[in-house]
Symmetry: C2
Subunit: 196 residues, 2 copies
């Protein structure tokens, strides 16, 4: 097999969930049927690597040092909502029930995957939450085991610093994920959040 | 969502079997956890597009105008084995039961996918098989419905030009694919090929 093809098949395996057989199928498909798409994907990867960084304030993906949402003066700087991933933030926004700030963990505590406080860089969340302006931190991690463990850990850490911490209500089904929940349920869970 | 991230998620959907949710998951994974891998994949795509082409004689993926196998003087130029994909060629080679030449269709007749004789560019196979040196064409397409239809179509086309055409024996299980068959069965199927 030509070296450049070998390397493409190997390289496709950096994608989560892609094993040797699908990598081969993908490479053949791209080279045989969609060279234009392959070029587009190559440029998109290059572009994303060059331009996508983490917001200095909320940690979500952005092209600027600080994202537009964090710079929006219409948002309430006294509330900070902690979510796991950008998709969760997008769901919160769709409820139109929250006008405060966000912090995106970009993950969750997951001992089995070796992801703890250090890997999640919770020191950055701590610095963000203790800026002197934030009055309440709302924990909106998922109600999965890992999301609950994350909320517990983050809650303890922030309460120890004297912050008021709340958890969105268990309006979501147990084991549920924000991304797969209807907007109304999420909105209600936000209203019913309880102090920790 | 930043434009470069949007574009990456869209671009990942050129991969077969990747829908919007997996594209998002892949993009987050690359940007958050494997930027090195993302860079590697981008370069691999670029490298494959720049260097991978089809062999002028056997149509398989290669970096040269004519691949090493087609240039190998130790192989029998009077036999031409027709397979669907490069992976099938690799399986044939592993049997060590064949020392002739190959032609890789890079697909199969598939009316449902709109792939017929023209899309498979069977005119190129015809030109290859009627070079005056090839004495026998061995059809080694899969024993799936589409592989059988392909063998039938190609067989008729080549016999009409006076070529001797054979089909590897149905030693493979019905519905079976070369790629998922043990080497011994493939070798036996090759020995028991029947004239068409
Ligand atoms: Zn931000
Ligand atoms: Zn060749």
């Amino acid at each position: 097999m030509p070296a450049a093809l070998d390397e493409l098949i190997d390289a496709l395996r950096v994608l989560p969930g892609v094993g040797p057989k699908s990598a081969q199928r993908m490479a053949y498909h791209l080279l045989q049927r969609d060279r234009q798409g392959a070029g587009r994907l190559g440029r998109a990867l290059e572009g994303a690597l060059a331009h996508i960084r983490h917001c200095n304030r909320c940690n979500t993906f952005t092209e600027a040092e600080v994202c537009d949402r964090c710079l929006n003066p219409a948002r309430d700087p006294q509330q900070l909502c902690v979510v796991e991933m950008p998709a969760d933030l997008a769901m919160m926004e769709q409820t139109h029930a929250y006008r405060g700030m966000y912090y995106v963990l970009m993950g969750r505590v997951s001992p089995l995957d070796g992801i703890g406080a250090r890997e999640l860089r919770l020191d950055r969340l701590l610095a963000r939450a203790t800026d002197g302006t934030v009055q309440e931190v709302i924990l909106a991690t998922n109600f999965t085991n890992e999301g609950e463990a994350t909320a517990h850990y983050v809650g303890e850490m922030l309460r120890a610093r004297g912050l008021k911490v709340s958890r969105i209500a268990r309006g979501l089904p147990v084991g549920g994920e924000l991304e797969h929940t209807d907007i109304g349920t999420i909105a209600q869970a936000l209203v019913e959040r309880r102090a920790l």
